[in-house]
């Protein structure tokens, strides 16, 4: 499901008279089970590309295929269905539903999917323990630090073992140690379950984990290299 193919993607934004380039003729193929990092300066189009892959935003031009889905052709409901069942998201800025506790946020997607309460409760508890939030299950987002919220978001993205995880700056609020833990967790999930990861980051420590490193600038892919993942020294 998770092989991704982007053909000639263009996306511009209009702010008043100004035209801002988000994506500029992007061609990209990602195979099932790859572990990819998107890097590039701020404003280079990383978030825009991830949003296009997740069907959160429609490009002006071009085609995107994610597994069996022609993302640019799906209706709102079909997109929701695809995101619900096949993609785990970590967003850059706003991730948690404020009126739900940590564990409820993690369970949210499974609940909408209709997974039985006992099952999803156990899974959510286990994953929260794994990201180091044992004991904080019932905290609301407002009562957690940015790093803790980030962990909840990551836990929610992977709890269901989706085919594809799209993570936008997942380690932004984390210290080096936690960031390393997360990346180890991602790599393990990638190896054991073949989950495809596409992670955008500014962080060179994160890039070090990737087998494939894509650099963007001004909405274009300027480098696309295979590398030997070397992790980070903690």
């Amino acid at each position: 499901m998770s092989s991704i193919s982007c053909r000639n993607l263009c996306r511009t934004f209009h702010q008043g008279d100004e035209v801002i380039t988000g994506l500029d003729h992007v061609d990209l193929d990602i195979e099932e089970g790859e572990f990819v990092c998107l890097s590039g300066p701020s404003g280079s189009g990383k978030t825009t590309l991830l949003n296009a892959m997740g069907g959160l935003d429609t490009p002006d031009e071009g085609e995107i295929t994610v597994g069996k889905y022609r993302v640019d052709k799906l209706s709102k409901n079909e997109l929701a269905e695809m995101r619900l069942h096949d993609i785990g998201f970590v967003f850059q800025a706003y991730n948690l539903i404020p009126v739900l506790s940590a564990i409820e946020n993690v369970e949210f997607v499974m609940q909408v999917q209709g997974i039985a309460a006992a099952d999803r409760g156990a899974r959510a508890r286990a994953i929260l323990a794994e990201v180091g939030l044992q004991g904080l299950e019932d905290r609301r987002p407002g009562d957690m630090s940015g790093g803790q919220q980030q962990r909840v978001a990551v836990a929610r993205a992977i709890v269901n073992q989706p085919a594809l995880v799209l993570a936008d700056e997942p380690t932004a609020n984390l210290d080096t140690r936690s960031a390393a833990q997360f990346m180890d967790l991602f790599v393990a999930l990638n190896r054991q379950h073949g989950i495809t990861f596409v992670i955008s980051t500014h962080d060179t420590r994160v890039m070090a984990y990737a087998r494939r490193l894509i650099r963007m600038r001004d909405g274009r892919i300027v480098a696309d290299e295979q590398q030997e993942p070397h992790g980070m020294a903690v």
């Binding site: 949003n51 959160l56 619900l84 993609i87 998201f89 706003y94 539903i97 404020p98 997607v109 909408v112």
Partner: protein
């Protein structure tokens, strides 16, 4: 919809409702007061209508009348009927019939030494008249008839003054017998009654039924049988039973047919209650729509987030409608309780004589008896729920149509 999604939607709806306590409480109070006003107003109207109906039906009298088929065209003694017997008598003896009275009702003339007036002579059996509630309420002088053999006459105050007669004096009662010959007899005025309307005092005179039958030479025949079940709104449900039981040549008519003014008044009242409720709700709906639109506006980002996570638009819509439904439901519960608490103690009557002179003209007294009815409570509930959800549809629909990425990016 899957069970899990239903429970997450209801959790979200309930918690979001209490996110802005103040706003929710104010809206709740507004709905509760609106609902209270709807029910209170309906109860007042119902009380007024009930009383007017009771008075009207007491004069008619009865909720259903049985006549000889030609009687209503020509209410003369020639068109009389035999008293109820057989199957009709059995129907009249069982519920829902609560009481009935067989009476003679003929045009007549009363003459005193000074003057004479055309009247309607009622030959009644006091006991059964009392049971259907058609006795004159207020005997000002003397007494009412003792039984159907009573040979006295009870007349209205107005008639007494027109005839310049008084209690204990003799007058002459004249009418036609079935052969169109004059039947007359001298009688003593044994009672003078007072009615709400002077027209009534002027028109109706009461004599013992047997005495009138004897004077007219009609044996035990009567002009009409008046029947009541003490539930005028339900008459259409039971009068056909009677219609099936009467023999040939008789006609059964419900009050709605006998007095079209009362019937139309009743439907106007029911319609007015509904209109009043809708108007109150329209005022409320501005607040409701505003509250919900604010809620959507404040939550644009999390709505976008939920959509981005794969919550389908229908569930977003459902969540906001449910939130609105919770608010409406709580407001309704509170409003109904308020109504119950405020109307119950007033059911014994509110004296409005100070502000309501002239109400008697409409067949109402100067005391209001608010009547709390389940139908009014149900009607206000239906109005609030149906219109409330309709009003909520627009903001909820807007929310469901948000583009996830635009919503997520909105900075607040």
């Amino acid at each position: 919809m899957k069970r899990g999604s239903l429970s997450v939607v209801s959790t979200l709806a309930w918690r979001n409702l209490w996110r802005n306590h103040r706003r929710t409480l104010i809206m709740l109070l507004a709905i509760a007061i609106g609902v209270w006003a709807m029910i209170f107003m309906a109860a007042l109207m119902r009380g007024m209508t009930d009383e007017m109906m009771r008075n009207g039906l007491n004069n008619l009298p009865g909720e259903v009348q049985i006549h000889q088929a030609n009687y209503r065209d020509d209410p003369s003694v020639a068109n009389s009927m035999a008293p109820p017997a057989g199957e009709l008598a059995r129907e009249l003896a069982r519920p829902p019939v609560a009481a009935w009275a067989a009476r003679v009702r003929v045009p007549a003339v009363v003459a005193s030494e000074r003057d004479s007036r055309g009247v309607t002579l009622l030959g009644v059996d006091p006991a059964s008249e009392r049971a259907i509630g058609s006795l004159p309420g207020d005997i000002q002088e003397g007494r009412f008839l003792e039984d159907e053999h009573d040979r006295g006459l009870v007349i209205g105050r107005k008639l007494a003054s027109r005839l310049e007669t008084a209690l204990g004096k003799r007058v002459v009662l004249m009418s036609q017998d079935p052969q169109n010959d004059i039947a007359d007899r001298g009688v003593r005025v044994v009672g003078i009654y007072r009615a709400r309307l002077e027209g009534t005092e002027d028109q109706f005179v009461y004599a013992g039924r047997a005495a009138v039958q004897e004077m007219l030479g009609i044996g035990d025949r009567v002009s009409e049988v008046a029947v009541t079940a003490h539930d005028y709104r339900a008459v259409d449900r039971w009068y056909p039973q009677l219609a099936a039981a009467v023999g040939q040549g008789l006609e059964v008519a419900p009050w709605t047919e006998l007095d079209s003014f009362l019937a139309s008044y009743l439907s106007v009242q029911d319609g007015f209650s509904l209109v009043f409720m809708v108007v109150v709700f329209l005022v409320l709906s501005f607040g409701l729509v505003n509250t919900l639109a604010m809620a959507v506006f404040e939550r644009v980002r999390e709505i976008g987030l939920m959509q981005a996570l794969g919550m389908p638009p229908s569930l977003i819509l459902g969540q906001l409608l449910l939130e609105s439904l919770y608010l409406l439901g709580l407001g309704l519960a509170l409003g109904n309780l308020l109504a119950l608490a405020s109307i119950r103690p007033l059911e014994s009557g509110i004296d409005i004589s100070a502000v309501a002179q002239g109400m008697e003209m409409m067949g109402m007294g100067t005391t209001l008896y608010p009547a709390l009815a389940l139908t009014d409570m149900a009607m206000s509930t239906a109005v609030v729920i149906v219109l409330g959800l309709l009003a909520s549809l627009l903001p909820a629909w807007r929310a469901a149509r948000l583009e996830p990425v635009t919503a997520l990016n909105t900075t607040m």
